[in-house]
Symmetry: C3
Subunit: 352 residues, 3 copies
């Protein structure tokens, strides 16, 4: 493909040689001659000078004179994604149809053109929307409902009475709708509290591998439209997550906590139960959130506090050696003063 052809696909403007042939795609650091790459973030602009890539997708405000040919587009990441799917290997196609080994309960409703792979088990009264792909060995419980165009990768488990929207992707090994963790403790013995609620997952959600999303004690655990969840995340009973929030790998969100929209929760964050996290909040990696967070706040650390506050706090802590040094000097100066004053007292006529 030539740079010109690429520019036409992504609706971009070429600055440089549009007859250049592109042979591969790559990240800006790893790119070799013949590669197309992109810059999504201004902080990588300096790499434009050193990249070996032949062409770079950039935003329209970038027209540096660099060795590489530039293709200006509104959103370089998105344009790159388009080209990637264009040049990448053909995605694996699962043929529509129900594999003869799939076990479909008696009252299941299957949409048009579904693909049910080997050894999938779909329990009674479940509903599978049009064009869904249900991977090998997937388990879908009684009364669970999937919208249209979902892709459920091999060995996902969805328990009973779950509701899944349209275009939801769930990766392998993920468990949706297992019991929330709740007990009534009587004299040291823990009695299970039935978890009779459910899980509802809205449209366009993607969920990584080996994630666990517990069903609610009552009512529902809710994942809003467009939320993206990475691998090995734990979402406890009755949690709600607002639209377009990002949850990075190994995060744990405790019971009944409510997360706003467009929140970013970085890796290994822990959030205690019954909190309210506002819209547009950013929670830094490994933070431990112990209090409500107002909207539009960036928090870090454990206990999590506003990032500027945490940084200032950390900076203060780093002054400890200097403090000790200053304290020691001051003690010497005071001792010296005391000595001199005592000497003076010796000289003083009125001193006893």
């Amino acid at each position: 493909m030539t740079v010109g052809e690429i520019a036409r696909i992504v609706n971009g403007k070429v600055i440089g040689n549009d007859t250049l042939e592109i042979k591969g795609i790559s990240g800006i650091k790893e790119a070799q001659e013949g590669d197309l790459t992109f810059i999504a973030n201004r902080k990588y602009l300096s790499l434009l000078q050193s990249t070996k890539a032949s062409a770079v997708l950039v935003s329209p405000d970038i027209c540096n004179s660099v060795p590489a040919t530039l293709i200006q587009v509104e959103n370089p990441s998105l344009a790159f994604a388009q080209i990637v799917s264009f040049v990448g290997p053909e995605p694996i196609a699962f043929q529509p149809g129900i594999h003869p080994t799939a076990i479909i309960g008696p009252n299941v409703r299957l949409g048009k053109d579904v693909s049910i792979q080997p050894y999938a088990v779909i329990e009674d009264y479940a509903v599978i929307g049009d064009r869904c792909v249900i991977g090998a060995g997937v388990y879908i419980g009684h009364y669970t409902i999937l919208g249209n165009d979902c892709v459920i990768y091999p060995q996902v488990v969805m328990r009973e009475r779950i509701k899944i929207g349209n275009r939801v992707i769930v990766h392998s090994g993920t468990v949706i709708g297992d019991d929330g963790f709740g007990y009534a403790t009587v004299r040291g013995v823990h009695h299970k509290i039935p978890q009779i609620g459910t899980v509802e997952i809205d449209d366009d959600v993607e969920i990584g591998s080996n994630v666990t999303i517990d069903r609610a004690r009552f009512d529902k655990t809710y994942i809003g439209r467009g939320v993206k969840i990475d691998n090995l995340v734990q979402i406890a009973h009755n949690v709600t997550i607002g639209e377009n929030t990002i949850v990075v790998a190994q995060v744990g969100i405790s019971g009944s906590t409510s997360i706003g929209r467009n929140v970013i929760i970085a890796g290994q964050v822990g959030i205690i139960g019954h909190l309210t996290i506002g819209d547009n909040v950013i929670i830094g990696g490994k933070a431990g959130v112990t209090k409500d967070i107002p909207p539009d706040t960036h928090v870090t650390g454990f206990p999590a506090r506003e990032k500027w506050e945490d940084m200032r706090f950390q900076a203060y802590l780093r002054k400890q050696p200097a403090i000790l040094e200053r304290l020691k000097k001051l003690e010497e100066r005071v001792a010296e003063l005391e000595t001199r004053l005592r000497e003076k007292d010796g000289q003083s006529p009125k001193d006893p």
Copy 2:
């Protein structure tokens, strides 16, 4: 159901209107008119005034005059759990019997009224107790023994020679008895140390989803009676956990560590190997435990120390800005003293 009927079920005493009709159940914050709710913890008592619930299960010492009707019971959580299972949707019933697609090894012993779901694989010499439910796609290894009344959810893996007690519940995706992580390193190359021990899980244990419990190097990894383990927990080889201990999500316990009874380990805690954690210990969320903990201790932080000590330590750290301020003032005062003393020296007749 009326409040009176509910009170009869849970053996409670009504303070208010016992003919009131209850239409739903809910948490105290989310409750609407017509709902039954409960208060398990005195710190939520203030919500009694504002809740919209029509009736509230409370402990016998609570008789506030509030809008809602109260039902006094010994243990409100437990009573609520009873009602929940009463009014909740009928639990999914897996019919007894062996699905024709289940693969049962030649010397397997199956108890009475077991339910073996599709595509379960039960290897040779395994023993499944009476009334056990073995979910779809579950794998049970050679010589593994389950007691009576266990519920093993879809896609659990139990490797060979594991021993499981009675009434044990294991949620989907959990792996019990995979090899412990042990190598002998010779000139940088790691040679696998065979893990020939096993895992033993006592009665009434519940284990969440996608948990991993490693088999012992020799002897056994042991989970005591009544222990409750949340999702995504890692339990390494030769760990032992005492009766009724609670292990919250994403905790990691390293090899050969011994945990006492009635311990509470909050989310994302890490515990290094070869430690002894006493009975009734509480370990706060995200703590990193690096030393033995004596019984009846509440620890937090990383490295974990006693909670009061950690709080005092954190409080000290927060004084850093004040310390800097005080230090600066003190330096100024000392400089002032020095100046004045120098002036005095100038005035002094005996000064050289």
Copy 3:
């Protein structure tokens, strides 16, 4: 077996009674009379005096006069591992052959003496090397290639186009080659970036249970020869890990980070993306790595810094109470000096 027979197997030298009969094997602390145990680490040498074991495998430089008989060997761990596999229960043998329920795609190539267990699904064009064991319910995607002598435990998922070396062991529930976590965000909405790369895993790698290893955005995620990965680890897209590195449970490594050879990453560590971690680095448990780490460095803490630096920093922090005490005393002494100087001024003839 006698001590003498054991010594012959491990090529060791007996110090003591070589006709002693060994009835069991155990850790040095738990050992009983009749047991064989070992000491791998000099810091456990003191246990030699108190162990009840009848015989102990030790390194050649140890010849203390202790109650137990010693067997000197070059590598006691390795020797012990040999004996363990000798005396342990017969490992579970999966007979070679393809279970009739396994589903093998039309163009799959199977090596000699493979064992394909029930309900395994091997997609079109996959290649399985000689003597591989593919456990029950394992899913192997299109075009995925396994070398010889691999053991893939039940319910592992490997997606399409993955490449696995020889003698690789993968434990249950692990997912290899699911999509990396990448989106292009346009006005708050996250658009999936196709992940068209792959995962390549070199010879002699062992991967624990419920691990997730994402496929690359382009190019590959790479796990080097001899790497050992514990349970519940997250390895993001385009990560590379060098030879013989150890990754302990619940570690998370973010996208495009490059880890050197012979690195040790302890439990629950988090590493942000796009970093370079040098060879022979040690990263302490729960550390949060936010910067590149040069080779041969031991780091701890969050943010991770060199261990000595972190320890010194922690030691400084612990001086906070003492600092406050010293500061208070100093303030009193300065106040006292000021008072006395003021008194002196009162006595001074020249004072106004």
